[in-house]
Assembly symmetry: C2
Homo-oligomer: 249 residues x 2
């Protein structure tokens, strides 16, 4: 059977973009619960006929979904609904930054707004388990005063724990996305940091405020911490200007 003849394939204005149909289809599958985290989608060839588009169009739609972080494809294995903690792609933000001239300070400040808010909420709602995680990370920071990279790991985890303590996954996801962009730079400058002890202290105070169920103090401590952290990073970047090379991709 060859549909090669004209008439069928063409003159089909009612149909939206073929790729759009794919996104819609998968979105429905996910929202209706037929697809959950980590589930595997049908093979492309099958899914294409199921939706009624060609394979290239299907792939185009999957590409869009992948760019949104909704699915991930592994050659030879299949296409899977994204699993793991919720996370926004940072590509879009990066492009916006390049196109509209967002500065690192803008990012940092936005992150600060979010984290200050999350600290306040965490002081109101954090579970004892979540408090325990925060305490652990603070301890880890004190233990890693001499190892900047290790210190940074605990630093990141602490902020993540606070975000989780806010009980708001949207907030936590946004914070994670922004923080990632900030830490990307931080990893290269942290080696020159000389005030890790002070930084650990500040984290401890944040933790104590949250544990004391004092939202206002938690907000203030977090705000001060991030204000100083930004200053510190700025001065560290200033310290060594023209390194930059050797960072492909």
């Amino acid at each position: 059977m060859k549909y090669e003849a004209e008439g069928q394939t063409s003159s089909d204005p009612g149909q939206e973009q073929a790729a759009g149909k794919v996104v819609e289809h998968v979105r429905r599958l996910i929202e209706s619960g037929q697809l959950r985290q980590g589930d595997r989608l049908p093979p492309e060839r099958d899914l294409a006929v199921e939706i009624g588009v060609s394979r290239p169009s299907l792939r185009s739609g999957l590409r869009t979904l992948a760019a949104m972080g909704a699915v991930v494809s592994r050659q030879g294995a299949g296409t899977f609904v994204s699993a793991g903690p919720p996370r926004l792609e940072q590509g879009p933000l990066r492009f916006l930054a390049a196109l509209h001239g967002f500065t690192r300070d803008d990012m940092f400040e936005a992150r600060r707004v979010l984290e200050v808010g999350s600290a306040g909420l965490a002081a109101e709602r954090a579970s004892s388990d979540q408090l325990a995680v925060m305490a652990e990370e603070v301890t880890g920071m004190f233990a890693a005063i001499g190892e900047p990279q290790e210190f940074l790991r605990h630093d990141i985890q602490f902020h993540r724990a606070v975000a989780a303590g806010s009980g708001n996954p949207v907030l936590a996801t946004l914070i994670d996305t922004l923080a990632e962009l900030v830490y990307e730079r931080r990893r290269m400058t942290v080696e020159r940091a000389h005030d890790l002890k002070q930084s650990a202290d500040m984290h401890r105070r944040i933790y104590q405020a949250i544990k004391a169920r004092d939202p206002e103090r938690a907000r203030r401590e977090m705000s001060e911490h991030l204000a100083l952290a930004r200053q510190a990073q700025a001065s560290e970047e200033e310290a060594e200007k023209p390194a930059e090379r050797g960072v492909p991709s």
Copy 2:
């Protein structure tokens, strides 16, 4: 200035996916300033040979860029770098919501954190022009007490003006994205709102606090406003239990 001459096309698993090369290429063009807002990209056929991939692969990459909001394609016209105000696609957030069960309340609360922060910053930095826009929108709200949809328009514009007044484009972009998701529902319930006068008053108080350069008061007023707004919307949704599902497009 090409460092990437080492691995050739064959036997080079290190080479990114063809589509990835496209994204990289365009990213470089944008970040280096060779492409700016609204610029048109070369035709697909040309760009494909320029980058060294087939046209389907190129289209795959452009699809990714489009999903990130970096470019938009118009059939028959060409592919253009996104212009207009910075804006994040909300598709990713929607998927995260569906996958991880983000509630509307979560979104609203995250938005509240951002808007409270932006109100505080606006009180510190908003220019007189930006203040004038806020005042105009408040006036518009009072004038549209009897027309819910028109009222909502000014409501949205007011919050946008405050976000702009914060002087932080990242913050403004995030607020816009979240607010859009919230307003989507709001448009269907605002008809049943009965306290538009009160809402306009609250916006006026926010404006006055910002104009008075009183960050703390601005934050408090914004916080109260959004807390009440959430309650109001919840009760309006409760008033008419719709079919929930079935969000087209």
